[in-house]
């Protein structure tokens, strides 16, 4: 017979997974487009992910909603999101214990992005921002337009997730950011933490590029489950600078959780990567929003 309870087919036991207290920093249901009505594709993709979320015993996942500031190519959707902001909150209302959000910013529209930071971070419930590497909102992080946005995010204690890739042969579209470029930006804001999404994809270079910039943490998703990644990241950065991301549902629990549970690192380091580090990063803004609710 197939004895899932014993074999777990590659997964740790339920008890072990629960002890990790997994918080996913990079959940990407309908990442580029939530559907013409603002939610249908997004909700469908969240539902598609639920079996894996359950199997992985995730506590929380952070996704990146579009908030009507020009981060999609659908102008009618953008207008609708501006007119009906309650649409943006629907997934958080449906899965209040499971989901957290960080808004997608449009680095090419600074005034709208600054207003969105006040609306969604200062007033809640969003916890940070996502700087994309593609689409109409993308700009390389070295672009001067990004600076006032980072300044404001820092004032609000927001978390910054920056999409990064080192592609062999060079960038394949405008607006992309490399880990080396992120290191340059992070040096200008030493008190602000930055999440280097995908560790640059080509992580052997990505890890090196951010190694000396202590306010950068690397996020683990977005590329094949190449062996040795986590081991090198722990060796060069320390486990305290690594944050788990699932990239569900377009990537799999197997690929992304497998990177951590299959790595030759200590259980302590796995706990840090799978949840502790991210919780620590979110603590200031979570605390701030909690106070606001109470007071």
């Amino acid at each position: 017979m197939i004895d899932n309870a014993t074999l777990r087919l590659g997964l740790p036991t339920v008890e072990q997974l629960t002890q990790y207290r997994i918080w996913d920093s990079y959940f990407t249901p309908s990442h580029s487009y939530p559907g013409a009505d603002g939610t249908s594709s997004l909700v469908r993709e969240i539902e598609r992910s639920l079996p894996a979320i359950k199997k992985g015993q995730f506590e929380k996942l952070c996704y990146f909603p579009h908030v009507g500031i020009g981060t999609t190519t659908d102008n009618r959707l953008e207008e609708r999101l501006r007119a009906e902001p309650e649409l943006i909150l629907k997934p958080l209302e449906r899965w209040p214990k499971l989901l957290m959000g960080m808004i997608q910013l449009n680095a090419n529209d600074v005034p709208a992005s600054l207003a969105a930071l006040d609306r969604w971070l200062r007033d809640g419930p969003m916890l940070g921002v996502y700087f994309t590497g593609s689409g109409p909102g993308a700009a390389t992080c070295t672009d001067k337009k990004v600076l006032p946005l980072v300044e404001r995010i820092a004032e609000l204690n927001g978390v910054i997730m920056q999409h990064t890739w080192f592609i062999t042969g060079g960038k394949d579209r405008p607006g992309q950011t490399t880990p080396a470029e992120l290191a340059g930006l992070a040096a200008k804001f030493p008190k602000q933490k930055f999440l280097c999404a995908h560790a640059g994809g080509e992580w052997q270079k990505g890890i090196r590029a951010v190694r000396d910039q202590q306010n950068i943490l690397v996020e683990t998703s977005g590329f094949d489950a190449t062996a040795g990644f986590i081991e090198m990241a722990v060796r060069e950065l320390g486990a305290e600078r690594i944050v788990f991301g699932s990239h569900l549902p377009s990537r799999s629990l197997g690929t992304e959780l497998g990177k951590i549970v299959g790595a030759e690192i200590s259980e302590r380091d796995k706990r840090l990567i799978l949840g502790d580090n991210y919780r620590k990063l979110l603590q200031p803004i979570l605390g701030q929003q909690q106070k606001k609710k109470q007071g």
Partner: protein, 296 residues
């Protein structure tokens, strides 16, 4: 002078299979489904490589350590190619070392490398099936510099088919975006494959490391001799989607370990809870045993 072609006729294949232990790959066709269901799951990993990846050390690139890890995951049979086959030209030496290494571990089934562009490739093929008793050979067209329209690839496929064996075709080994700047290998263009297999009715090819693309998958799905592995069937429901498209009998568990973490493909097979227990058993073990068994 040896005439390699002569060494891979049907009679020899049977003798070699019995002598080399490849016969143990045979699964009794009379085993009933009920009997099969009652057996403990013995996972077959159809896509593993031994020795050193050319571009960095991997945590599991020592055979004993790799086997130990695969055992903990429930894998009882491992079809092993050799990373040396990617860039070495002395493939007889590569395949000899692979065969020798596989004799040290009961789980390992050696899958030799053949490069049909090398002079005397028939000799390598003959040794793989004859001397080493391998049930299949593996090809890396993108690392060896040819397309599937190369006439010598067709000749190789014909000989493999005549020998009653099968071919493993690595569609890629590493994401093109992360490859070494001085050694970039684009993914193999699989478009010509259906026409080739149409010409060779009995040919059987397992594609390794391919990320299914809808339009091409439609074409590949129509050819019953084409099989797939799970190493890069990405997405939370990527494996069940592949099974739905091509049928559960044509998808086999393959991890691409130790380049990829073996847990990744294994978790991916069941994480969406969309495959039945029967389908899981078929994908994780039965298909591989059936494919290898047919050859011998």
């Amino acid at each position: 002078m040896t005439r390699p072609n002569d060494s891979i006729n049907r009679r020899d294949v049977l003798q070699i299979a019995a002598a080399s232990g490849a016969a143990s790959l045979l699964v009794s066709q009379s085993t009933s489904a009920v009997e099969e269901e009652s057996q403990p799951l013995k996972i077959v990993d159809t896509n593993v490589s031994l020795f050193h990846w050319p571009f960095r050390r991997l945590p599991l690139d020592q055979t004993a350590k790799l086997i130990k890890k695969l055992r903990t995951l429930g894998v009882t049979q491992v079809w092993a190619g050799s990373f040396e086959g990617l860039l070495h030209r002395d493939l007889a030496g590569v395949n000899g070392r692979l065969a020798q290494e596989c004799r040290q571990h009961r789980e390992l089934v050696p899958i030799g490398t053949v490069n049909p562009l090398l002079p005397g490739w028939e000799h390598d093929l003959g040794q793989c099936f004859g001397k080493h008793g391998m049930p299949a050979v593996r090809v890396y067209p993108n690392y060896h510099g040819y397309t599937l329209q190369e006439p010598r690839f067709l000749q190789l496929l014909e000989k493999v088919t005549t020998a009653g064996r099968f071919l493993q075709l690595a569609a890629m080994m590493e994401d093109t975006r992360t490859q070494h700047v001085q050694h970039q290998a684009a993914d193999v263009d699989l478009e010509p494959l259906p026409a080739l297999l149409d010409r060779l009715g009995r040919a059987r090819v397992q594609i390794l490391n391919w990320r299914p693309r809808a339009a091409l998958l439609e074409k590949l799905a129509k050819i019953p001799g084409i099989f797939f592995d799970t190493a890069r069937a990405e997405g939370t429901d990527g494996v069940p989607q592949l099974v739905e498209k091509v049928g559960k009998e044509r998808v086999m568990f393959g991890s691409h370990a130790p380049f990829l973490i073996p847990e990744a493909a294994l978790i991916r097979v069941h994480e969406s809870s969309r495959l039945s227990k029967s389908s899981l058993r078929t994908v994780l073990a039965a298909n591989a045993r059936r494919l290898a068994g047919k050859g011998a």
